[in-house]
């Protein structure tokens, strides 16, 4: 609960990304999506990975989640190298991923159902996390009756209910407007502080990253490498109010400097690709 007992630096990291490389394609068409990336996430820490669109964030997400087993280097939890979905990792996807044929509560109870948890316990636990993401009055609604932001909250509750040691999220709020994003950010901060949840958030949103993180890993654009790791020493507990503070602005400006370079390289890249396509007719 309290953050004063935050884990000492000496403790084993919860997750280690060690010199990970992932290439797609073969021959002359090889794309290096992740290039020798290394960083780690400590117990109870909130780390964001930020980078421009197409820099390899989702690829890294899938490797850590065990959905892409064919990569070089090692993603480690304890002594174990990840090559398949690991029980300690819970994933929240960038895309909308609720099951349309299940109600909110049945969606959230899904992981418990897989584990064979008895029905009444399953419902109690699902109920608890639905409450936590603020959807208590929508338990019996179907996803088609919910807004995009509400569906993402269902996905988050569904992952939290399985009580993963490491929460792994890929741009969960990418499709949402700025206000909803800030408020959901509050919710995430609150949940993280309540559960002392180790979290790795993938994002391309700078405000979001600074608002939520203890540390930010800035990625370069193609090949996706670690450009810099920034410690965010903003006081906790935080709310979205922090967005207005000077220190916040300072961090945003600092990271934006790094990010702008990469983002403009990304833009130039896609523009030249577009003009090449245009030249081809």
């Amino acid at each position: 609960m309290s953050i004063s007992e935050k884990t000492p630096l000496a403790q084993e990291p919860a997750l280690v990304v060690d010199d990970v490389v992932k290439r797609f394609g073969r021959g002359t068409e090889i794309v290096t999506a992740v290039d020798h990336m290394s960083f780690s996430v400590k117990q109870g820490e909130f780390v964001s990975v930020i980078g421009p669109s197409g820099c390899g964030k989702s690829t890294l997400f899938n490797i850590i989640g065990g959905l892409l087993s064919d990569y070089e280097g090692a993603v480690k939890i304890g002594e174990e190298r990840i090559s398949a979905p690991h029980p300690a990792v819970g994933m929240v996807f960038q895309e909308e991923s609720t099951f349309p044929w299940r109600t909110v509560i049945d969606n959230v109870a899904f992981p418990l159902e897989l584990q064979g948890v008895p029905k009444s316990e399953r419902m109690d636990r699902a109920h608890h996390f639905i409450d936590m993401v603020g959807l208590a009055s929508f338990e019996n609604a179907f996803p088609s009756q919910l807004s995009g932001g509400m569906k993402q909250r269902v996905s988050i509750a569904r992952t939290l209910v399985s009580q993963p040691k490491i929460l792994l999220m890929d741009e969960p709020f990418a499709a949402l407007d700025e206000q909803t994003r800030l408020l959901l950010g509050d919710k995430i901060t609150q949940i993280q502080q309540e559960l002392n949840q180790t979290t790795l958030l993938i994002t391309h949103n700078l405000t979001e990253a600074v608002q939520l993180s203890d540390r930010i890993v800035v990625m370069t654009y193609r090949p996706g490498q670690v450009k810099r790791i920034v410690d965010i020493n903003l006081p906790r507990p935080r709310t979205s109010d922090v967005v207005g503070s000077d220190a916040f602005g300072h961090y945003v400006a600092e990271i934006w400097n790094d990010l702008r370079e990469e983002a403009s390289r990304g833009m130039a890249d896609s523009e030249s690709a577009a003009s090449r396509r245009a030249a081809h007719g």
Partner: protein
Amino acid sequence: MAAAGSLTSSSIPATPRNVLALRLAVAVFILCVWEGLSRSGLFYGEVVPSLLAIVVSLGKLLIDPVFWRNLQVTMIETMASLAIGAGIGIAVGIVLGANRFLMRAFEPVVYYLSPTPRIILFPVMIMWFGVGPGSKIALGALSAFFAIALSTAAGMRQIDPILIRVGRSFRANVWQMAFKIYLPAMRVPILNGIRLGMGTAIITVLLGETKLSNQGLGYMIMQVYTRFDMPGLYALLILVFVIAGGVNALIGHFARD
């Protein structure tokens, strides 16, 4: 909107009441024409029996235990062929839909064979399964199989891949993936396949019964026909249509989202 309206040369709104009224009007019109033809004496004998005669036959049929026994035989044959066709069809559809290589190899075969008349295989089925229900069930299952396998394979391919990744991330095993993700995600296309399969199964079973058998509605139709009992024949046909339509509507109800 306006163009479509003028095409059908009508500006009557398609409210449920109007739709019902139109249906009733057409039905009454057809019945009147039928009765008119029947009374005109233009047709030989009882080819166009009067409505009254058909209604009387219908009533007689409904209290005739022979009808119910034959109906039961046909229903059991149809259900058995549907169960077998659906079981194999869904399994084959899943395999075809999941495996690009198998799909490339076999889906065209299934696709191009599916509209061929199965009834030409009836003699073979009789040799294999005898003149009893076995041969009708086999033939019905074969015809249901194609429709169900094809729509299952198509349903498999339209599943949102993200849902499969969610299942994998929660480490669902093969059975959990099949029963908690694939099948519910394919409910609508599978039920549509079953509906189509059901239709062809009924047709094929009835056809088989009219060719060679000693029980079932198809057999009964041929008997009534040989007796040249026209009102009885029409009454029987009406019942067959109502039953087939009713079952179809029932499955359609479940196939809706």
